[in-house]
Symmetry: C2
Subunit: 275 residues, 2 copies
């Protein structure tokens, strides 16, 4: 039973939306300003689960979050996809021509910069969080200031949306992981996806050999990401996601890769959320 979930950001953030959509029952949230704090809340048992963005279709993997899951021995127990839509919002009864400055997260500003080329008088300013700016505009009654945030944020903080979906790339799908301290709760018959990590050197064929095992065991690869191991030149860690029809097939592949690869680690096994 999940009662409390740690999220990155505040109410109205994209992580908040995920917490609403993923769980079947309403959950309380712990608002965290950093992913480090999200993990701390989980480790300290302040919450039952945490939500962390893992990758998006524009910028790729969020490696520091993979590192947090890896370093703190957390377990991915589920995934959720969200199409990130950025909206320009401000206090009611203003037009876009009234807006002098827009504050938001650097990534949101980057994704929306083309939209603002038509509004050269608007100054773009980097801020910590998308939804937090919306909250501040509301709390302090800041006129002539815009936020870039979710529809939920506009709703919670009583702002009017001046322009919908202002990001340049209209579909920016972001994948979120639901993580827990233990790996005990996903029923075996629901598991059809897994995230694993293993190491291999750069010698020719070492990765190909492991991928051949996966292929022989009927696993489909949905993601692969190599990362150099900082202290060991020419050695690489691979973060790999696979999907499968039969859990037994995955167990078989896992037992072989545990022998062939080095430092094999199961980051999580869960239900594939991609339709």
């Amino acid at each position: 039973m999940i009662n409390t979930v740690a999220i990155q950001g505040i109410r109205g953030s994209f992580h908040h939306i995920v917490s609403q959509e993923f769980f079947s029952e309403p959950v309380d949230i712990i608002e965290c300003m950093t992913f480090d704090r999200v993990v701390e809340a989980l480790i300290n048992q302040e919450c039952d689960a945490a939500i962390m963005a893992l990758e998006n279709s524009i910028a790729g993997s969020i490696i520091p979050n993979y590192a947090l899951i890896d370093d703190y021995q957390l377990h991915i127990v589920g995934e959720h996809y969200l199409d990130i839509q950025h909206n320009l919002m401000a206090l009611p009864n203003q037009n876009i021509e009234d807006i002098k400055e827009v504050y938001s997260h650097p990534m949101a500003l980057l994704q929306c910069k083309d939209f603002f080329k038509d509004y050269p008088n608007i100054k773009l300013v980097e801020d910590k969080d998308t939804a937090e700016v919306a909250e501040r505009i509301n709390a302090k009654g800041l006129k002539n200031i815009g936020a870039i945030a979710s529809v939920l944020a506009a709703d919670i903080f009583n702002l009017d949306i001046l322009a919908h979906s202002i990001q340049t790339i209209k579909h920016n799908e972001t994948r979120f992981a639901v993580v827990k301290r233990t790996n005990s709760e996903v029923p075996e018959n629901e598991i059809n996806k897994a995230s694993i990590k293993f190491e291999a050197d750069h010698k020719r064929g070492s990765l190909a050999t492991i991928l051949n095992v996966m292929s022989d065991c009927k696993l489909n690869l949905t993601k692969i990401q190599s990362l150099p191991i900082i202290k060991t030149p020419w050695k690489y860690a691979f973060f790999v996601d696979v999907t499968f029809e039969a859990y037994a097939d995955f167990l078989k592949a896992k037992s072989i890769i545990e022998i062939m690869g080095q430092n094999f680690k199961l980051l999580g096994e869960y239900k594939n959320a991609k339709i």
Copy 2:
């Protein structure tokens, strides 16, 4: 002959250091505040080459820069590795206890946040660029303000370094690409590394098959990164770097992958800079 190089950032930035170390002759630089501007300068023939960070050992690939190289049909003609060292600097004749605020790039602040736990009175503020803050402190004579930047920046802008190498992870190796508009200048006998891109679907074995070709052709894989193709579910683009001893081996692999993979693209072939 390279006379002018576009860099991200200003004098004293890490890209500036790369421009000094990579080329055997001194080059003029064009200071660009964004990577988009770097590419624009190259496309518009304002410069002969451009330098772009591609990945670092902490955060992984800088996917938007791969996308720029891909989208604008640029060619990687060389690579350079730099161990990023962050230093706290300020106007001369101050102690660290005099510093009230430190401005820097969000990534630099993130990498140095542990250092500042011992200095809770210092406020950390996000800024555009590491070196630009150093320049501003110098130009405006800003007391009690610190910058986090390179030794070169301290040197150019006459600041004193109050603490060296303040980043948490002591070795943060960053890989930079030297890119040009054309691919004509690396002598064949110097080429022992290549960056390629191809597409494959998630069906089992499709990537393994291509990696087997690479292995059969004696290529070593030094990097692999999958990226979902936004408009085509279950299809992936792979950015792969390989090293090899004989250029003929690479040509052979290339000709096979061109047939087996989809939308094969050579992003560049160049000299491996990793010792």
